[in-house]
Symmetry: C2
Subunit: 190 residues, 2 copies
DNA sequence: CGAGCGCTTGATTGAGTTCAAAAATCGTGG
DNA sequence: CCACGATTTTTGAACTCAATCAAGCGCTCG
């Protein structure tokens, strides 16, 4: 997977800007289980996944985890809310596999506003894609039964389905691991 | 409420660009119940609400409506998915009140890419806010009971709560009108 | 090799749905 | 401005899907 810097280079950023980025985007290797972000604080960084798999999730007042998203190769994960509005995040981020990541901190995020228009256009495009995905997920959550949400998930993310424990998929779908297990049982009988 | 054009003027767009916008952003008055967009087709326009209240929603295979969002004054509503990826939309849009709107069609959306950086930055900001809102909603949907989702809703959108029929709020929350009615009954008893 | 973690399976409980019907509210024509 | 029909909300009973609680199995990794 290309690094974030390579992506940005392709947008025609000035070499001056690129050298700034070089010094501020840190490449890092993390091992499975590593926690990259905890809730309750203001975090001003996002993670670009070059290799591996990250996850963001919240923990409710009962101590229950709720998976917000999985981020495989090429994805960016972070808390746009905390980042954009400078509020404490609700999200934890950890590594589900040994991963290679680029860490983009908020200074860079401000730099992103000095990027060429093409890079901004890409940013708009990425955010639009994100909105689409979330829109789709909201509609599924308010309109479809657990079975159908699961079927949709394995169809949309067959790759992730293989790499992630069932209980996390259940969490992503908004149901308990037991419920998902039973759903799977019924589906395979069909 | 300022018109969309006024917003764009404030970003320092060239007068040339503005005259283009003048000819392409159509101001319109629609009355309650008017349907502005239907699903199944590719629509390349968004609606900026200057006054009134719009709603976007999907209809499932059983003919049931599912409210995706409410758009009061100052909001933009449309299907970013259809718009960005040129796919048929799943969303209907209609007017819940007599409304004054600016219609931005996809040509203008392309023009938006020729806007000053400041306007693009605003676009990024708006999309980020949208992502935040959706993120929050997803987390509520997968982690909270109907009661708490409702309490959150009236806290976040007290204004909309007054202007919209219960059944649509129920739909937005992903529950039936009957369930919401019972929840309200219990809450007021407390 | 065993302890713990994750998945399964079953029994029970509870939140929310469905169906039905009454009560309240809204909108419209007269 | 009132009255009436239509829509919306409320209430209730029976049911269903998914949560909770609990126990057993299979893996793996320490």
């Amino acid at each position: 997977m290309k690094s974030l810097k390579e992506f940005i280079t392709s947008t025609g950023a000035s070499s001056e800007l690129l050298s700034q980025l070089t010094s501020e985007i840190k490449q890092k290797t993390v091992s499975k289980g590593a926690i990259l972000q905890t809730s309750g604080e203001k975090w001003h960084r996002s993670f670009f996944v070059r290799k591996g798999l990250l996850r963001s999730y919240s923990i409710d007042h009962k101590g229950k985890e709720h998976v917000f998203m999985f981020a495989p190769e090429g994805w960016v994960v972070g808390d746009i809310e905390s980042l954009t509005f400078d509020t404490p995040t609700m999200l934890f981020i950890d590594a589900l596999e040994d991963s290679e990541i680029d860490i983009i901190d908020s200074k860079n995020f401000k730099i992103l506003n000095d990027l060429p228009k093409e890079a901004m256009r890409q940013q708009i495009d990425k955010l639009s894609r994100r909105v689409s995905v979330l829109q789709h997920r909201v509609l599924m959550l308010i309109s479809a039964r657990a079975v159908d949400r699961y079927k949709e998930f394995i169809k949309t993310y067959p790759n992730i389905t293989q790499r992630v424990p069932q209980r996390m998929i259940a969490s992503y779908l908004g149901i308990t691991p037991e419920a998902l297990s039973k759903i799977r049982g019924k589906i395979t009988k069909e």
